[in-house]
Each structure stands twice: as C-alpha cells, then as structure tokens.
Symmetry: C2
Subunit: 765 residues, 2 copies
Amino acid sequence: QPKRLDWDRWIMMGLIGFSVGIVGFLLHQFIDLISDTKWSYSTKYLQQGLGVAWIFSLGYSLIFLIPATALVVWYRPSAGGSGIPELIGFLNGTIIRHIFNIRTMVVKFVSCVFSVGSGMPVGPEGPMIHLGGLIGAGLSQFKSDSLGINPNYFQRFRNSEDRRNFISAGAAAGVSSAFGAPVGGLLFSMEEVSSFWNMKLSWQTFFCCMISTFTTDLFNSAFKGFQYQGYFGLFRAETNIMFQVDSNLETNILTFIPTAVLGILGGVLGALFTFLNLKIARMRRKILSEIQSENIKKFLRMLEPCVILILTVTVSVLLPAAFGCTDYQCNGNSDVPLNDRKECLTVEQDAFRPPRTEDTVKRYTCPEGAVWNSGEYSVNNKSYNQAATLFFVTGEQAIKHLFSNGTHKEFDVTVLIVVLVFYYLLACWAAGTAISSGLVVPMLFIGGLYGRIIGQAMVDWFGVHVPIEEPYWAWIDPGAMALIGAASFFGGVSRLTMSLTVIMVEITNDISFLLPIMSAVMISKWVGDFITHPLYHSLLEFKCIPFLDSEPVVYSEGKKLLNLELFSAADVMTTPVEVVKPCENIGRVCDLLLRTTHGGFPVVKDTSSGKVMHGIITRLELCMLMQNQEIFQDSPEIAEDVFKKEEVSKLDYQTIHVDRLIKSKAVYSKIRKLREDQCMSSKYIDLNSYLNRSCVTLPHTFSLHRTYIIFRTLGLRHLPVVDEQNHVVGIITRKDLMGFRLEEKLHNKPISSNRHLNTPKETEA
Amino acid sequence: QPKRLDWDRWIMMGLIGFSVGIVGFLLHQFIDLISDTKWSYSTKYLQQGLGVAWIFSLGYSLIFLIPATALVVWYRPSAGGSGIPELIGFLNGTIIRHIFNIRTMVVKFVSCVFSVGSGMPVGPEGPMIHLGGLIGAGLSQFKSDSLGINPNYFQRFRNSEDRRNFISAGAAAGVSSAFGAPVGGLLFSMEEVSSFWNMKLSWQTFFCCMISTFTTDLFNSAFKGFQYQGYFGLFRAETNIMFQVDSNLETNILTFIPTAVLGILGGVLGALFTFLNLKIARMRRKILSEIQSENIKKFLRMLEPCVILILTVTVSVLLPAAFGCTDYQCNGNSDVPLNDRKECLTVEQDAFRPPRTEDTVKRYTCPEGAVWNSGEYSVNNKSYNQAATLFFVTGEQAIKHLFSNGTHKEFDVTVLIVVLVFYYLLACWAAGTAISSGLVVPMLFIGGLYGRIIGQAMVDWFGVHVPIEEPYWAWIDPGAMALIGAASFFGGVSRLTMSLTVIMVEITNDISFLLPIMSAVMISKWVGDFITHPLYHSLLEFKCIPFLDSEPVVYSEGKKLLNLELFSAADVMTTPVEVVKPCENIGRVCDLLLRTTHGGFPVVKDTSSGKVMHGIITRLELCMLMQNQEIFQDSPEIAEDVFKKEEVSKLDYQTIHVDRLIKSKAVYSKIRKLREDQCMSSKYIDLNSYLNRSCVTLPHTFSLHRTYIIFRTLGLRHLPVVDEQNHVVGIITRKDLMGFRLEEKLHNKPISSNRHLNTPKETEA
C-alpha cells in the first residue's frame, strides 16, 4: 500500500470535480427545460381562462411528478429526501446501506429533475450534494456490484480514509456546482458534512470545487434548456451568478437594528420550520405504520407529493386572481411630480443608472397596456400582478424579484404575507415526502419573503430613500432586507455560519452586505440553538443514524450537563469481552462469528501475568480468513520465528482487508459449515500475521470525557479497555458512547474514584 | 473547573474582536497620518528640486524609522518581524518566550506604525495578526506579570485549550481588521495559524472576526488620519474596501491561459522570494555571529533598516526622474479619432460609465497642463510620470493603481519591469530586519506588477478591447491580470489557498474573477510546493521552532519517503525513563527536578507483575508541590482509603496547576535547598491526588506512523511507551518526533518486526 500518492489523488479530485460539474450542468439544463416549458405554456393558456391554465399546469406537472415519486417509492427509497443527513452520518462513521449505489444515483438524478421541474416547492441543491458524494465514492472506488466492475488500479483508494475524503470532496463539489460557489462548497463540506478534516484534504477539495464550478459555469455559459445561445466560454454574471444583486448600497450602522430583528425572526421561524417538519415526519411515520399492506403504504407515499403539487399549482395559478393589478410606478427624481412619472418600477441607483422598468414582473391577467413617449421620459399605463410575480414563476425567479434592489414599490406587505404563509406551509410539508428534493430554494424564498416584509414596512414608515440623493439612508431597501432575511432563515434552519455567509456572497455577487449577513446568521444561530437542534441533526436523530458529536453532551435527569470528567471509561464499557487467542481454534472462531455480532475482537496473549492485550482483529478479517482453509494448521503452536513465519504468510493484506463482505450469505454459510465440521475442531489458525497490533487501548480508570474525545478524534470503531496489568476488561464501541446510552449507564452510577479533577485538557498546546 | 461556560466564551470573543478592531483602527489612522504628511510635503518640496524632496523625504522617514528599529533592537527583539511564525509555533505546542507580553505588544504597535508610516517596503498586516493574537492571550488570561494584575474571574480561561482558542481567534480578528475581511481572517487562522481546530471554535472565531471588522470599519468610516470626515457609521466601499475594484468584466475561458502563466510565475517567483529571504537571513546571522561586541551587533541591526530606507527613498524620489512624462490619453469610443481624445486615461466601462480621467496619477515633475472645453468633450495637455505613480506614493495607493480596470495605457511595460526589479529586491531584504513588519502589501505589489506586465503585453499584442463593444475580449485588461498576479504571488509565497482566495475577494469587492484567482492560487501552490517550503514554514525552521506537521514526512538518505508504518514506537522513544513512585522521597524528587530537564515524569506503581504505569505528573506540578512543605509526610505509606485521603488533600488543583513558574529562580533555589536538607531525605510526598491518571500510553510495538498521528492529533506533550505487561519502557516527546530526529534515529534501524502492513488507517469512518 503506497504511502503518499499525492498526484493521483489530485487527479482523482479533478476528475470528481469535472464529473460533478457535468452532472450539475445536466441537472440545471433539464430542470430549465421542463420548467420553462411549463411556465411559458401556462402563461399562454392563462389568456384563455384560469381554469384552462390550472388544468394544463396540473396535468403537465403531474406527468413529471408521478415518475419522480414512483421511482423513489418503488425502486429506491434511499434516494428520497435530500440525502444530506445520510451523508453526514456516513462520514461520521456509520455504515448506511445503499446510499452510494449507482442505481440510487440514477433515481436521485431523475427524481430531482422531475420534481423540481414540475414546480414543487423544493430545490435541487440537496440532491446535488448527495449526487456529488455519490460521484466521489463511485469514481474513486470504481467498483460497482450492480455493474460488476472492479479494476485493480483503484485498489489504492479503497481504504476508509481515502473513500471518506473523496466523498467529502464530492459533496463539496456538489454545492459548488449547484450554487456556483466554489469556496462556499468547500466550507459547507467542512462545516456541516464532514466529521474528519485535515488541511491537505481542504486543498484537494478546493481544487475539486474549482473544477466543478468551472465545468458547470462553462457549459451553462452557452446553453439554456440545452439550446445553444452563443457566448460559449464567456462567464456572464447573469447566467452564472444565481441571484445577481447589482447594487451599490452602502451599509450603515443603523442597518444592524433591522438585521438583529431579522436574525431573531430567522432563528424562531427556522426552529419552527424544523419542529413542524419533524412533526409531519412523525405523523407520516405513525400513519404509515398503522397500515398493513405494503402496497397501500407505497401508494400513500406516492399520493402525498401529488396532493402537495395540487395545492401548489392551485395556489400559484388561482391565488393571484384574488389580488388586483398594480400600475407601474416610479419614485425618486424629485423635480418631477410623482404622479407624472409612471414609467419605472425602480429608483435611480446612481448617476449612471437612471430609473428603469423592471420588465420581469408578471402581467398575469392584467391588461397589457401601452407605452408612449412624452418628452424626455416614456410613459405607460402597464400593470402587473404582485402575487403572480412571486407565485406564477419558478422559485429562483421569485427569489430574484425579492432580492432586487431599488424596487421599493414592487410588492405590498399584504401580498408578501399571504405568499409567505402559503409557501412556508407547503415547503415544510414537501420536505420529507418521497421525492428527491432539497431545501435551499425554499429557505431562501421564505427568508426573502419575511425580509422583504420588514424592508417594505420600513419603507412605508420612513419613506423611499434614493442612493444618489441620500446615501446615508439608502440601505432602507426591501431588496437588501430580503437578502439579509434569506441568510437569517437559512441560518436558522441549518445553523451554518461561515459556509452560509460565503455562499450568500457568492450567489449574489455582492459583498457590501457582508457584515449584516454575518450578524444575521450569527444571531439566528444563537436564537435557533437556544430553541432546538439544527434540521440536519434532528433528521439524523429521526432517522436513527448514530452520530457522534465532536464533544460529548450528556444531560443528567434534571437537564443539567453531566461532567464526564467525573466518570471513567470503566463506567460505560461493555463487559465481558469476547476475546480470541493469537492461535485460535477454528471451531471457536466460527462459533464466535455466528454467535455474536461484534465488529472486532481483541486478541490476547498468555503471559506470566495472565492474558494481556496483544492486538485486535475485525470480524471481516476473520470471515475472510475462514474462507481459506489452506492456511489452517493442525496444532495450536505459534511458529517461533516470527520473521520467517511472516514471509510465508499465505494470504496478502489486500485479500483479507475488505470494506464489506461481497457475498455475505455464501461466506456465512461456509462458516456455518466449518462449525459443524468435526475435524475443524482440531484445526487452528495463526492470527499473528493478520491482527492489527497498533490498536489504541485505554486503562479502565481513564476519564470518560477524554475517552470520548480520543474515540471521536481518532475515529475509532473499537476501543479495548485494559486494567493495570494490561488485561482486557472491557470494550467501548460507538454505541456505548451515544448520548442516550451514556445517560442510561451513568444515571445509576456513583461518581467514580477518578474524581479529583486534575486531568488537564487533552490538547496541551 | 466548570465545563461548558459557553456564554462567557462568546462574550470574551466579542471583547477580543472589539479590542482588536480598535487597535486595527488606531494602527490604520496613525499610519495614514504619518505617511500622508510625508507624501504631501514631499510633493510640495519636489517643485523646489529633486534634492530638496530627497532630503526631506529621507529625514522625515528616518525620524520614524530609527525609533521603530531601536525599540525592537534594544528593548524587545521578540517584537521584530511579522510574528506569524512564532504564533504558528506557539499554537502548534511550542512555548516561545515573550511573545505574549504586554511590552512586546506596545513595541510591536509603535514599531509597526513607524516603519510602515516611514515608507519602508513593508505592510502592517503581519504585525496586526500578532497583535491580534496578543490581545487574544492578554484579554482572556488577564494576567500580566509586568503589570502585576491577576484577577480570579479569568481563572476559568486559564487552561491551555482556552488560551489557544482565544489566541487563534485573536489572530483571525487581526487579519479581519487589517484587510476588512472577516471570513478571510477566520479561514487564515484555520488554514495557516492554528494547528488544532474544531467547529465550535470556528463559530466563535466567526463572531470575533465579525466584531473586529465591524469595529474597525465603523471608526474608519468617519476618520482619515484622525480627522473627522463626517459619515460616521456609513460603511462606504472606498474607505472600507482596501482595493475596491469597480469592474464588470466577465471571465472568459481563454482567461485561464494567462492565469496559468501567472500561476507558474507566482510559484517560481514566490519560491525565489522565500529562498532569497532565507539566504539573506542566514547571511545576516553569520555576519552578526562573527562580531563579538553586543553593542556593535545591535548597532548593525539598527543600521540595516536605515540602509534599506535610504535606498527606498532614493529609488522612490529619484528614479522617476529617469522616465519622461506621459500625456493623458484615451481609448475606445471609436467614432472619434484617437488623437482627438486626450481627456481620459480609462476606457468606457459600460453604458453608464463614460470614459473618465483617473485623477490619482502622480504629476511628479511634469508640467501641470491645462484643460479646455471643445464641444462635447473637454481636452487637456496634462501629463504624469508613470514611475512616480507607482513609487512616489504609499504601497497601498500603488496597488490600487495596478488593480484599476480599464486603464490599458496607464503604464508601460518597461516602467513596470524596472519598478518590479527594485521593489522585489528591497522588499525581500526588508522582511527580516529588526523592525516590526508584514509582507502582505509587498506581496500584492510584486504580484500586481508582474501581473500587470503580462496584461500590458497582451494589450500590446492584441489591442484594447472595450467591455461595451467586445464583452468577449474585455478580460484582456491589465488591471484584471494584476489582480490575478497578486493572488498568484501571495499564493506562491504563503501557499495559502482558500483563505487567500476569500481575502482577495473581500479586499477587492469583486467576485467575478473568483475562478481565475482560485486557479492561479492553486497552480502557484503546486509549483511552489514543488520547489521549496512555504515562507512561514521555512522561517519556523530557520528560527528553530519545533513544528509538528499534521502528517509525518520523513526522508531516508536517498530523498525517498520513509514509510513509518514499517517502524514502531520503540524505535524512536527515549530510554531509559526517569520515573517516580506514587509516594516518593522528597530528596529524590528534588534531585530529579534539578538533575534533568524533562517536562513530565511517568508515575509507576509496584504490583505483582512489576512496576506498572500508573499516571503522569509534570515538572511544573512537582515544582509547585515542593513549595508546600506542609503536605510532606514522614512515611512512604499511602493512605489506604483513597477516598478519605482525597477529601483532605491539602492543595487544590488551581494551586498546583500553573502554566509556567512565576518566579522560577526562587522556586528552584527552594528546591535546591530541599535537596541539601538532610531531614528531607526521610520525608515523602503522596502524589496520588495530584497525578494525571488519564494519560495516553502506547505499547512499544505500536506503528510509528500511528504514534505520530495520535501524538499530533491529541496534541500531547509526553507519551509513555509501555510493554505488554504495562511496564514503562520509554517515553516519546515532541523532540523525538521532529523530522530530523526521526531521520537520525531511523536510518540505522532495521525495519522492525511490525512490518506486515495490516494496520488500517487510524480513522476508520
């Protein structure tokens, strides 16, 4: 196993980045294709009546949504949801079945394209992150049981550390590609997805993210819904920046007052969102568990997104009709009386940008209107529908409207509130149904909505301030507040800090609001943390994925934190331990493998002072050894000359070291046969060449806090506990250190003898 | 010792951020004050002749430089240089004297203000980072031996982990304040400065950086050289963004060709810079070591920056005279013939920004010229000096000129090359002299220069392309290339990746060039790493600060990497080990403390199977215990009832657990006295209540690679090595794991018996 193959790792990172970039490009283009068609035809049919538009919209969307959910429900349930909690769990050290399977990948891709394209209140970013992780795992391991591929070259990457690194990088590349945010992607993977990180990994991930963003941007630069637009290779801001904010507003110290309000709102609403989402998930699980028939269950799972879609289409097509039309109007430029200037929706941004009409507002059913020139300005009597501008478009377009600066009069507070209520509930319900879906677009939309409400209210109270006339007050802009609101809600739900800040800056291409965004994110994190867990961690718990936090948090009965320094390793270890001898009887090994489910067994050696810890051997290694009868020997003696022995070691490392059993049934039936076989009870196996002697052990008096830290920091799976004479007295595994297990075990324990607290912090830098 | 005092940590982080912000503001304003005065008077005297300007410039600068260097040389040598290598070493676990002292802080501040203000080719960023770390240490520990302050409240932060975290955060806040780059600061601390990091720390640092940037920006918004300018609280881009780039150039795929060239150049020139800098440092050390007299040595140290200053002033005042004047000229707007339009130096940026005159170019000795109106355009015959525009200004202003977009004809390639050669050499020499100085401004300047040379050459070959007419080719802009060049040189010297990218984006307020910047940084890192170490790590080696990288890199004689999996812990451990008994004789303890210099002693207990490992006690703890004769006992017996014993333990944890000895001379003289004292040889001390029983030990057969990883990951200081019966057979310390020591020890070793490689990676996630 070569040691520092750096160049091939860099190349692999580049390949992963490129592939993720291509997938991101395809995802983007397919979604564009589907949703552009939907909205352009809907707009057309709208002129023939609301009913026609509703029927078309619904029918068209269902054509895509039904396969999207059917694939997930019937074919690959593991492709549902965003996949981020599973990814986090996997990178923390839990093995989760099926998440890195090529079929999962295909289903995920198709389901995501169809459900986002159909207009569900979900976004493509979560699945893109999972797809990135999948590509990272698939390309680096290049082994597929489904496809039967297994070339030898990639053997070098087939160890848990490399696989983990490539998956982290792939997930980062997924974020980079989805948002066009390479640094944000890197930070997201570091802050949220990965549990283990080092600097070399961040350099390689940096490269991977760069390539991924580059690839996506390059191809997106020339296509829209797969139609060639020219400009191949020109990275235009309008195509490559998701929510280009073209302002030169300057922050003011007073900006931090509404920012604090938005931060608090973000924390509260974000926590509420998490709470509701989990509530719905529990209800769903409860209802489904009461149904006996598998088919009805699956049918209900499929029905759910369809119901949400019907509601969404109804709201987006019919609700705007409840609101009237709004005339185009104009502000600022105080030498012309306000009612004489009807030609623009935006205010003057600076000397070079005169007031202009925002032409992307939705006319809906409003009269078309005409334009005529009147001296220097052109005047019109056009009108548009406010609710349709937010609802009768894709989520991304709606967010662009919310973020746009200088559009002080584009939306009324009432409209915004109505849209917020509907969207909040629909998005909260949609997240968790049996489609492949992400939450980022909904989060930005919701945050943008309440941010804009606050901004709009401030404009109503304090009036419109045009940057060129009153730079000091120009920050009172609903678009700017929407941006801060979006950051705060994103922060309140996910509790990200630095990655979120960088992502917000990268998707808006505007760093003048960096400090308010940071403050809002920080405040919403505090408020949210005070109320409940972040969404992904709640989902981890909900999905019963054991996750070890980087520091132990254990509450005693009275909601008080337990000081784990007061307990020792002996308090949580599992005992007695099944151990094996360096030269063990085949019958006993087989018996052990079949009787227990432990993942590893300490190997103990007989010495004058009893059986001392000698090494550890994993279940997989034992299983693989059992497949090779030729290495069995007749006597329990260990060959004296260890050196000579090893040279004739009959199986090399690669053969016995596997990630998981390929044909586990065959393997276990063979082991079962071995156990039955009478002559095997006199055969032995010499484990000396195969056991891992570099196994960390801890004395039983060791402080529990430090035990946890060591276990978590080193990413261990089994930690044998020994006494002063190095006898194995217990073993600690991941399960023993889970919060609830610790609570259980510790509540009835007296505080151990290890209670004088002179155990310094483990990192004595 | 309370466990999870999070709120007070957050508040402390805020306080540190605020203080660093204030210091950053003061630093900025003082430097502005000094240098503005210098340049305005120099410009005035220039009209009276070059000689007068030269004399004034030199005299004025020397007034400031001499105290700057004198303070460092005579009063606090530890305040010299940037302080970053020392900070990195400290956070890696090495104790370095004097770096967190309040006097160091004052000297650092004054020396930095004076030397940057005087116009040396250095920047204030490095010292600002050290000042940040100092404030982090000072505020959180709130204990000063110099000032005799030591309140009890801060006891809770006085452990190595918290101190380390606060220092990391302070350093990050220093970067944030110096560059106005909060996220960049956080990432800088994470990527370069700190060796230990966790997510909670990054959230707190995020907050700290935010407050720091906010504070600096807030006060800077209203003052310039301490003069109140109005607009308090308005965060204007021109004051708060260091090098505001106001472009809307779009990247093109072809941009990556010159970017790759710049990346390679950055790597090569960066490595050369490091190499030259170290060469000069070695020469300086050699020359000084040959001089006997301390005073002459110090005088020479003082003389050195003065010589550099004389050269710098000469170059900056006299060199521009060697170049002639350049007429203002204009490009683009093709309907007017080129020679009719002399009114602007810039090209049209977009429809809203007509060609305008860059009015910050330096006239130097050129004729003043006049302006007259001619129809639509105003025409002039003004002229300016190209070299003076780069040299006869502060470094920051020069960088602004280099980065400015649309100024295709502002500089000629010849001028740029001449400036590059002079500045490169001067900056390389100046870094390392006895002043407090940083390297960022020089790095950006040098990188900007060669970037602009490439850009200018491209403009000369391919012609001027105006964004509004040819958006596809508009990226051929010397300013944009200068920006990429600056990033590449910064990367080539420091080998930072993500933090550098974010810093570049934050200081220019322009993310459209994110991908080219990332590529340039990545390529220059590869090229640089291929040639030599990064500057800070070379300096660590030069300053003999033992630094443990996160992974061991050991070369065998033939430049081949050694696989440390082939060796075991026993191969590098120090043996024999001085051990103490749980109840030890006072005479022996004192003897041990005086005879050896070890930092920690394993405590062994007699059992049936020999002396087994029981715990560890540090030198400091033993020293403190020795100061308290009342706890000595007459017999070597250990009180049987450990519980009871502990309740009457006579000294509490805080008393014996100290960071360092306050009055080490008194302590040791007391210990010496104890050793002499005959009656002490029959006294004993019971260490059971004081020793640390949660001490990680490893078996002697443990793989060396994993030993290193565990030592480094857990940040240990002493790692006792035991045999199978838990007898202490050796001890491993930081020194034993340093690269050169490993090489020494391993070259003559046979490959150990631990050579079958079935030791899986330590993080089995």
